[in-house]
């Protein structure tokens, strides 16, 4: 885990850096659309890392995570669009979005701290729905969110005169809008990854781990479980808020239908599939599940046409079917995920052995 951040592996880092810089140009050769997909993948990496703090580190199952994403997206939409006539700059909105999402995280966290795993799951799910329903309905009597119609004409990310939409020339290179967003996202993602890694190996990170493994024991050794759990919710939520803000800016349009329960489940699937609590694993999970539908779409239809001469199974339902099956199978055969952390898989191995208890 530490190896790839170890100064000794400078070569590795350099290689990764070169790959990250070259990626949008390589992919962009096949069309900007692919860069856009790449951007969504990074956005999901973002979200998955945020949820990973709650689910992976602290072991609290959160089924309403998308609510924080929604809070961030709506914060951006309201503060930088003609809806209220406000056009705040990036450096103001993103922190506001993060803080607001963080506030919602605490709001959700505080009444639910006493709850055990499965009660928590259902309450967080309810919370996610509550947030969505409010966003869908707060267009009357006072029009705040514009209801189901959503908010249009949202400002893109802009630093001074430099806008992230449209094509521009930088250092002699022609960069399309999605490519510029790519670099912004990668920069933010690296920041988030560094924060995550630092967190995991800090006192807090170990406290989370202790709570995940045995809450009573954690309490006994003097960990303030309440505060530490709240912190997990708050941290996770703020990442969601930032991701939401970027999403709103990238799309230029938000409406409540982007924040349904299935999105929460999707992000959870990324964390679980990749490897709960293991940062590289979570990244892998997010990237995999973003590209899978694209791949399926191009594979499923032609394959079925070739085999049966007609489309028997809709790619969309097949995609969901594969998601569901993947969740079941991974839990069955690789409960620590596709790319688990070495210690975690060992722990789980022990768990199974003493499972009869």
């Amino acid at each position: 885990m530490k190896n790839w951040l170890n100064p000794r592996s400078t070569v590795g880092i350099a290689l990764i850096a070169v790959a990250l810089i070259a990626l949008p140009f390589v992919v962009g050769a096949a069309g900007q659309a692919w860069v856009r997909i790449l951007n969504f993948a990074i956005l999901y990496v973002f979200l998955a890392l945020g949820l990973n703090i709650v689910v992976g580190f602290a072991g609290l199952l959160d089924l309403g995570y998308i609510a924080f994403y929604a809070v961030g997206a709506y914060t951006w939409a309201l503060l930088a669009s003609p809806h209220f006539g406000l056009h705040f700059p990036v450096w103001a909105i993103l922190p506001i979005g993060a803080v607001l999402a963080c506030f919602f995280g605490v709001l959700l966290g505080s009444p639910t701290l006493k709850l055990r795993g499965d009660y928590l799951a259902i309450v967080t799910l309810g919370f996610g729905e509550i947030v969505r329903i409010f966003m869908n309905n707060l267009n009357s009597p006072v029009n705040i969110t514009n209801g189901p119609q959503g908010i249009t004409l949202i400002d893109p990310v802009r630093f001074g005169d430099f806008s992230f939409t449209g094509t521009s020339q930088i250092l002699g290179l022609t960069l399309g809008g999605p490519q510029k967003y790519y670099f912004l996202l990668v920069a933010l993602a690296i920041l988030v990854i560094v924060i995550n890694v630092r967190l995991q190996h800090s006192r807090i990170g170990r406290a989370w781990q202790a709570i995940r493994e045995d809450e009573i024991a954690a309490k006994a050794v003097g960990i303030n479980t309440r505060n530490v759990k709240l912190l997990a919710f708050a941290m996770g939520a703020s990442f969601g808020g930032i991701a939401g803000g970027i999403f709103a800016a990238m799309q230029g349009f938000v409406s409540p239908e982007s924040f349904s329960l299935i999105e929460s489940i999707m992000v959870l699937a990324m964390v679980v599939l990749g490897g709960m609590g293991h940062i590289p694993g979570v990244i892998l999970g997010a990237v995999l599940l973003t590209f899978l539908p694209e791949a399926l779409r191009y594979a499923v239809t032609p394959v079925q046409m070739a085999l049966f001469g007609k489309i028997l199974i809709d790619p969309e339902s097949l995609r969901m079917l594969i998601f569901g099956l993947a969740l079941v199978l991974v839990m069955r055969f690789k409960p620590a995920g596709l790319w688990p952390s070495p210690e975690r898989s060992r722990e789980l191995g022990d768990k199974v052995a003493e499972g009869a208890k």
């Binding site: 069309g31 119609q149 959503g150 004409l153 449209g166 349009f253 779409r297 191009y298 969309e316």
Partner: protein, 411 residues
Amino acid sequence: MQAKLSVVALSVAAAFALSACGEKEAPAPVAAPAAPAEKPVVVVKLGHVAPMTGPQAHLGKDNESGAVLAVEELNAQGLEIGGAKVKFELVSEDDQADPKQGTIVAQKLVDAKVNGVVGHLNSGTTIPASKLYADAGLPQVSPSATNPKYTQQGFATAFRVMANDVQQGKVLGEFAVKQGVKTVAIIDDRTAYGQGLADEFRKAAEAAGLKVVANEYTNDKATDFKAILTKIKSTKAELVFYGGMDAQGGPLVKQMKDLGIKAKFLGGDGVCTPEFMKLGGPAADGQFCSLPGMPLEQLAKGPEFKSKFTTKFGYEIQLYAPNAYDAVMVLADSMKRADSVEPAKYLPKLRETNLEGVTGKIEFDEFGDLKGGAISVYQYQGGALNYVETLGGAPVAAPAAPAAAPAEEKK
């Protein structure tokens, strides 16, 4: 110019590029020694976007079929634009009715340098995608997105060939007045479509002096409406308006009957379907709904289109296929008038469209909305939809834009 068009030899087989899944069109012209004397052929790529997978796939397929029919007819005509023979090609993309996917496929079409876009089907994907098309200067004609916001964003490239929710809600309000009712209850399903329609209906009904005695809400997955219907019953409303889809509308009229509510039922195009009758059963009888445009039977080119469509595809028109057909025709028509297939050149002409389409006369107002879009009202009788009358459409006056939602949206 060179970049926009890919010039290929005549000898290239006229295969239909429906499955052009973003693979890049080889821009290099195939050296064409075979037919030197022939006129060059210009391939005009039209993007088509609709959900081809997911719950609305049947509607997406329907739109696509309409567009396919139009493209085939255009190719059969052997049009010449700008001194070259043109061959239209449909580049079909799937947005899964998902806003995120909507921008991805929009980007694909921009990358593929299509000459125009027909789509998307849903307002939820049409709006975010319209920004990309506007940035790229690509004309976009949606056959079925009815959210008024789509054309109010100030994009010069956004058009639609269907009456929007404002127009439809207004007409339904007028119709309610004509029915002689005094009090109405309004239910909407809190989707962009249902809420938009119900809001416009409310405005029109109140403007016409009707009293709105109840505003109730449900959602697009609900099956039980008894609680809100009981409340409506207590208000003794004479008419219940529903902004939403057939899957809820059908059970809703049934439960109205169970509760002994005698009020009439009126809904928009979402409940003007055979599905509504199937789900509503006998309770659907005598209820009213509306569809944008005129019934195909009443239009000059309607019956012909209907028979062409069923002969070619072997199934009935679902909903918006005629509009998708017209959307393609509108694009082709303005290219003809501009004598260019280049978006920048034919876009001004698109605004001046004056075409007799399958769905009626097509003219755009300054927003890109259909001028005075007509709406027809139907009544369910004995398991069939019977045409009642057509409202609106006659006055060509552009609908007052601020009528749609808060005015601060306007720039």
